[in-house]
């Protein structure tokens, strides 16, 4: 296929902007030499910008959240209520990155930490926020240390803190270290965790913009989302909106893992053909094997069979049409040897393990899913199990406090839907009447 025709355009000559090829860009002095904190300076010190115009520029860019849900970022920012000087407001930058298959934010934080800080500051300014929390999962201890060192330097240089660059605008950044819980990536759970509570997600409405951390207006964005803000200010929303897929534009970090020759994190425009990503960017299938299936954006995005991806590009519209979602753009590539039932079993285990246990359908349903898939995987499943599984998915989806239950149900629903024969083939040949307790070995 002619590259020029894909939404990603001439991606082979794409120049990286989130992770431009600059040695030691993570160091403040290097970052400064490469337009570092220029966008922030312009926003804070020139008349061109005020909070509304920053938000509008982000709206114009068409930036959509990179944390999973793909919500338009500028629109999210504009949900913050009017400023009341007596009521604090907060920004949370979501660096929890725990969705299996996702490993891009860690690399962005390692290689371009100041871009994340600068993005946080610009977002804070746009929403008149004076404190931004950067929530990083506890497992990233080494990256937290790195971020803290660099943050300290940014403070020392007056990029963060009181009266930034003499503009009169002050904003603090606090790095919050998680301690091992996938659910903390969910925005309201992240808020509970920041507040020092058990990280139970909260029922919405009220939404964070109305009632966020400590009950105050709060906006939550993913690390990569916020890192786009300085680029948008520097080069304009319009420039941004022309990168990649028009309906879902911008640079994006693809984290490719699994059975490819060259896994890793790659920066390219949105709208890349999945086939290009696998065959060219990631060096093709390992050992010349055939592609069996893939998940396009983290464990909860519906699985796509090899025959479903022809012409499909990595953007919300195309993936929706193909029957999946963009998610976190963490792609897992599976070759023909993968036992899809065993694979699903591991996913159901993950969600069972990570359910916070607060609400009924998720606490009970995730375990039941794992139970059934385990028995199927061990060859003791019954055909009725498949129907029960699909039923349980219906019983969980959309009925819980947070979307973890949906995220747990979707892989089950879509994997059965798209690989039903493999599940049936693994069922026991002996029919066991229902009702009793079936012991799995």
């Amino acid at each position: 296929m002619d590259d020029k025709k894909t939404k990603a355009g001439d991606w082979r000559s794409y120049q990286r902007v989130l992770l431009p090829p600059v040695k030691d860009l993570h160091k403040l002095d290097v970052y400064e030499k490469h337009e570092g904190y220029k966008a922030l300076r312009e926003v804070l010190t020139t008349d061109k910008w005020n909070p509304t115009s920053v938000t509008n520029e982000v709206k114009k860019s068409g930036l959509k959240g990179r944390g999973g849900a793909g919500f338009p970022t500028g629109l999210k920012w504009s949900f913050m209520p009017p400023v009341d000087p007596n009521i604090p407001r907060f920004l949370c930058c979501n660096g929890d990155e725990s969705e299996p298959g996702t490993f891009k934010d860690r690399q962005l934080m390692e290689y371009n930490p100041h871009l994340v800080f600068e993005g946080m500051l610009i977002a804070s300014y746009a929403m008149s926020i004076k404190t931004g929390y950067l929530y990083i999962r506890g497992e990233f201890a080494d990256w937290i240390t790195l971020m803290e060192e660099e943050l300290e330097k940014a403070y020392a240089k007056g990029y963060v803190g009181k009266n930034i660059m003499g503009s009169g605008y002050s904003c603090d950044i606090v790095i919050h270290k998680g301690a091992g819980a996938y659910i903390c990536g969910e925005e309201s759970s992240l808020m509970s965790s920041l507040e020092g509570q058990r990280a139970y997600p909260r029922v919405k409405p009220p939404f964070p913009a109305q009632k966020g951390i400590w009950g105050y207006p709060t906006t939550i964005n993913n690390v990569e989302t916020l890192a786009c803000a300085p680029l948008i200010i520097n080069k304009g929303g319009e420039w941004f909106s022309k990168i990649g897929a028009p309906s879902h534009p911008g640079p994006v970090l693809y984290g490719i893992s699994g059975h490819v020759n060259r896994p890793g994190v790659f920066e390219y425009p949105t709208g890349m053909l999945i086939t290009d990503l696998i065959n060219e960017v990631a060096g093709g299938m390992r050992g010349g094997k055939k592609l069996k299936a893939l998940i396009p954006g983290g464990s909860s995005t519906p699985i796509l069979r090899a025959d479903m991806i022809e012409g499909v590009t990595m953007d919300a519209d195309s993936l929706r049409e193909a029957g999946s979602m963009m998610g976190t753009s963490g792609m897992l590539i599976m070759d023909e040897d993968v036992d899809i039932v065993s694979w699903l079993r591991r996913i159901t285990h993950f969600y069972h393990h990570e359910s916070c246990g607060q609400c009924t359908p998720c606490r009970e349903g995730t375990g039941w899913l794992e139970n059934i898939v385990t028995r199927l995987d061990e060859g003791q499943g019954q055909l009725r199990d498949l129907d029960i599984l699909l039923d349980l998915c219906t019983q969980m989806e959309g009925r819980t406090v947070c979307a973890l239950a949906d995220a747990a149900a979707w892989p089950v629903r879509y994997t059965i839907d798209r690989f039903r024969s493999e599940f049936e083939a693994k069922c026991s040949t002996e029919t066991v009447p229902s009702g009793g307790v079936l012991e799995t070995a």
Binding site: Y200, Q358, C359, T360, E364, R399, V437
Partner: protein, 572 residues
């Protein structure tokens, strides 16, 4: 007035009530577990899901868009919403299980989930019979189970503290108990531990769940996960009848239910009264019921010898007949009702004695800023309002010891145990004693001893420390009295489900005692003193019109929740 439509019925409302609360208050029965009106709504049980629609508002006019019939177009939210966490708003349209298959299915599905790891040991569970989970499963739940795996086993029979026992497997993780200790009692002794399907409520290591209000979590637990160490396994709920009354352990008069089986009190639970105790009851109010059951007198005595009631009343009259008024001391009682104390004061006046005094019973440090008081009596305000003074103990003791008294008339109290004087001191004094328990230490010194009906056997009024006048209702019957006790209760009392089935017909455990408003008029009549009342209702009617301190405190006005009297000395 703003209104919402629930299953095609219109409900009006004020303010911003929670949808669930509004439904419950207006008789729409929505299943729910985690919601409690006094606490935050985490919406975690997911049982109260409903379909919610709101009128589509025209951006330009700000008014609802209308359909061809002139009705507002309703936009339903894509997902079911938890009614406990939704505020009602004008024009909202709600579909519950009565009109929505989706909601019906969601309720059933949710119950299926709740039950897969539930032990289903209802036959031995104290909550059975008044268990929301059991009731809702009967009403809305699935018929069988599709769960073919091992249930999660969790710790059982754990003493969380001295009074509360946990069964972790029955817990449905609604967090009501946790929220109670965090938001209401603020003892912070409980937390959910672990995560996911492993989680359950627990104290942190080394901590006992022993706060003075711990037993409230038993009432609010929607399943049998938290039970009372004291009353567990004692009686099934359908074997007991309940009576709405008030607690008499302290001066707050928290509203409660007395639970009776075989004419014995077996349990005391809170009764909601937003003016007094809201939804709560202190542990101490629940555990002192044994004084109603144990060590009760067998009948009236004269100098320790059993006599019949007529002989006892005559003996009291004889004591008073000869005595000079200024050598007779009446002691009213902060344990007794306003009615009985009032009659006592009338008797005192008629025999020329001074206004009765009463003994105070306070224990410094017992009280708190919530429902417990230093005052260990339920009616000292009632005594004060009748003009009774607290007895000056040393002066009264000297008077007794110096032979200044011929007759000491004690209404429902124990001067010896309370340290007023010793039994020996009373050797030269004629003592008339109305008493509750055979352990009363003044009993040996009593010339005439009249067994008195306790708070659970009488009809009367008590005034709490805040000036709230409330009615006592008989919870169990006594010997020798028409059991409807002055028409204050029906022939039989309802059990928890309103079924007129109780152990009232059981003739065992009937205590041979009398309320003051029976015994005092009998004594008066032996003295030819006029004291004609049909019953305590009339006594209060008279008192509330004659004495400003009781203005408004008629039985009709007090009803179930009592009336707040104006402050003493201030007329309404």
């Amino acid at each position: 007035m703003p209104n919402i439509t629930v299953d095609n019925e219109t409900l009006e409302f004020d303010g911003r009530p929670r949808l669930l609360q509004l439904c419950l208050e207006t008789g729409v029965d929505l299943p729910h577990f985690c919601y409690h009106p006094a606490m935050s709504a985490p919406a975690n049980c997911r049982q109260c899901l409903v379909e919610v629609g709101t009128p589509q508002i025209n951006r330009e006019t700000g008014k609802p868009n209308l359909d061809e019939n002139g009705q507002p177009i309703i936009q339903f939210m894509p997902k079911l919403q938890t009614s406990c966490s939704m505020d009602a708003s004008d024009g909202m349209v709600v579909r519950t299980h009565k009109s929505s298959e989706l909601v019906k299915r969601a309720q059933k599905d949710n119950l299926e989930f709740l039950l897969i790891n539930h032990p289903l040991d209802c036959p031995i569970c104290d909550q059975a019979g008044h268990c929301p989970l059991q009731n809702q499963t009967y009403k809305h739940g699935p018929e069988g189970s599709r769960f073919e795996f091992r249930k999660v086993s969790k710790p059982k029979q754990i003493d969380l503290g001295p009074r509360v026992v946990l069964d972790g497997e029955r817990c449905i993780n609604c967090t009501r108990c946790i929220r109670f200790t965090d938001e209401i009692s603020e003892s912070h002794q409980l937390t959910i531990i672990e995560r996911g399907v492993r989680n359950y409520p627990m104290t942190p290591p080394g901590v006992e769940f022993d706060e003075p209000y711990s037993m409230n979590v038993i009432d609010i637990c929607p399943v049998g996960a938290l039970t009372s160490k004291d009353s567990r396994f004692r009686a099934r709920t359908w074997e007991m009848s309940k009576t709405a009354s008030i607690s008499t352990v302290n001066a707050r008069g928290s509203n409660c239910y007395y639970w009776v089986k075989d004419n014995k009190i077996v349990e005391i639970t809170p009764r909601t009264n937003m003016d007094v105790n809201e939804y709560w009851l202190a542990d101490e109010d629940r555990l002192d019921y044994r004084i109603f059951n144990d060590n009760r007198p067998l009948g009236p005595t004269i100098s320790g010898a059993d006599v019949n009631w007529d002989a006892a009343y005559k003996a009291v009259a004889d004591c008073l007949k000869g005595a000079k008024g200024d050598r007779v001391q009446f002691l009213g009682s902060a344990f007794a009702t306003v009615e009985d104390n009032y009659l006592l004061s009338k008797l005192a006046t008629a025999v020329g004695a001074s206004t009765p005094m009463y003994l105070t019973h306070t224990e410094a440090g017992r009280g708190d800023t919530w429902l417990r008081t230093d005052d260990r009596t339920p009616n000292s305000q009632g005594c004060e309002r009748l003009g009774f003074q607290p007895a000056n103990r040393s002066a009264l003791r000297s008077l007794i010891q110096s032979g200044g008294l011929d007759v000491l008339y004690v209404l429902e109290d124990d001067p010896v145990a309370s340290g007023l004087c010793s039994a020996e001191d009373l050797a030269g004094v004629k003592v008339v004693l109305h008493y509750y328990n055979s352990t009363n230490q003044t009993l040996p010194a009593a010339d005439v001893a009249i067994p008195a009906a306790t708070a659970v056997e009488t009809v009367g009024t008590l005034v709490n420390d805040q000036g709230h006048a409330q009615r006592l209702r008989p919870a169990k019957s006594i010997a020798g009295v028409n059991r409807t006790l002055s028409m204050e209760i029906g022939k039989c009392r309802a059990d928890r489900h309103g079924t007129p089935f109780d152990k009232w017909y059981d003739e065992s455990n009937l205590i041979n005692c009398q309320p003051g408003w029976v015994s005092i008029p009998r004594i008066a009549s032996d003295l030819n003193i006029e004291m004609n009342y049909k019953g305590p209702r009339n006594i209060m009617a008279e008192l509330s019109s004659a004495n400003d301190a009781f203005a408004g405190a008629t039985y009709e006005a007090m009803g179930e929740f009592g009336v707040r009297l104006s402050e003493i000395g201030v007329t309404a």
